[in-house]
Symmetry: C2
Subunit: 281 residues, 2 copies
């Protein structure tokens, strides 16, 4: 098979990466997508950097074995834990969700004050602040971990009273700090975007990584002549490491399409090797 005809791989701990898939389907409708959701070990954001790196490698290698032409790390906790060496260790382009969002935020801010929200792991890693400094050392950053947002989204709570109180509790800090741009540093958070915008007010620019990440992906595919040719719409295949019922219900509602091609995977160990393998649900 020609390399350009291979699918794009993307992984996340759960549902969040679908916010990126949604954009890929919109902007690159002919591409096939393989999505890996590590439901068995979610959430990543409260785990240590070492655990997250191990998990990320398991997932990337699984998609690599299936055959992909590019990999999107659709999980900020992963993206903030892995280093440059991780990306270099694969023979296809690997892009993550941090740099595209930072680039967009740095262009977008007028008063050089950017807020960043994310999981405990992402915020503690300091990955966003470091990346912002490489663009513009004048920008002041304000950060806050919001550990309840992922379980809230996974439960489908986007705008109820609990969601509103949690948003108020976590984000009041940013109102005081005078930011004009807020990065949603977790791919789950776009599902809370309208509630967050409502709380923060219309003047605050809210950046999620799905759109800029997809632009970067498109750019890289074009540059490497990897864009799929043909005119049949691409297929989305899902591989999930635990029972998918809950994931499918929310995922379908969110993507606005039936998730038809779903397989279960299980961690298998043989001699010195451990890897995800597909299995019967």
């Amino acid at each position: 098979m020609q390399k350009s005809q291979l699918p794009i791989g993307i992984f996340d701990s759960g549902l969040g990466g679908l916010t990126v898939v949604r954009q890929i389907i919109k902007q690159l409708p002919y591409e096939d997508i393989l999505y890996f959701g590590d439901l068995a070990r979610l959430p990543y954001g409260i785990k240590s950097q070492n655990q997250i790196i191990k998990f990320s490698r398991d997932n990337a290698e699984f998609l690599m074995r299936l055959g992909i032409k590019a990999l999107v790390i659709g999980c900020n906790s992963s993206a903030s834990a892995i280093g440059f060496g991780f990306k270099q260790s694969f023979h296809f382009p690997v892009i993550d969700v941090i740099e595209p969002a930072v680039r967009k935020a740095a262009v977008s801010t007028q008063n050089q004050k950017i807020g960043i929200i994310g999981t405990q792991a992402t915020i503690e890693s300091g990955a966003y602040e470091k990346k912002i400094r490489t663009f513009d050392r004048q920008i002041k950053t304000f950060v806050k971990a919001c550990p309840l947002f992922v379980p809230m989204v996974e439960e489908g709570r986007f705008r109820d009273k609990v969601a509103r109180e949690a948003i108020k509790g976590y984000l009041s800090f940013f109102k005081k700090s005078g930011i004009d741009t807020l990065i949603l540093g977790c791919t789950h958070y776009p599902l809370l975007k309208s509630s967050i915008q409502k709380f923060m007010g219309k003047k605050i620019k809210i950046i999620d990584s799905a759109e800029p990440t997809t632009f970067l992906l498109k750019d890289i595919l074009l540059k490497h002549r990897l864009q799929k040719t043909g005119s049949t719409r691409g297929v989305l295949r899902l591989y999930l490491s635990d029972q998918p019922r809950h994931f499918l219900r929310l995922g379908e509602r969110f993507l606005g399409q039936k998730l038809r091609f779903v397989e279960s995977v299980q961690m298998k160990e043989r001699s010195n090797e451990r890897r995800w393998e597909t299995c019967q649900i």
Copy 2:
């Protein structure tokens, strides 16, 4: 070493099992305790039954290899997933947190209406309702999964506005159903007990499993002549499968004592065997 001098083992996915440890220290102050917290794979309550059984076996076998005289399954999601065969497969008594709480609730109810709250996995398993029916078929049960309670507790939110709204959201249902007894079917929930009691009102009897489970443990140790002799206070040793900083901060606050003996464990695979092994943090 005499068998009675061995420690008691207990495992949970995270912090919750410490509610049981607190009672054990209070009621059996001379016993040594080995606590395993599977921070790397928490929370269990949103995972499938098969995953939880696998995790539970890993954890029980780790404690078994260290040498224990009895095992407490300090996690309701585990207790509701495993069967009788699991308990029988060890050469020491294995007790879980479900039966003692059910027994106490069945005695406690006056109007034969019992409410049960727990994680998604515990509620979906129907373990509490089945156990209640074995005691008294006349009792009506009302159940509700409360997926946000574990992450709330792990974040230290016991009585803030978010906690109050979540409690109201999940528990209003029980006010309408007219229960007089509510079982906290998750070892994390006792940390929310006073907020739950406040919302439900003083007339509702709230049952957590820590106290009745410890009574049962005491009873079994006496019956098997396994109670530790001597007059030096027991030692609590912790084994955690991910970085313990957050766990220790909340755990110390909760247990009211410094957690001094803490070791990290890591999953190791060799040929056809996989197991937790202690390692450097």
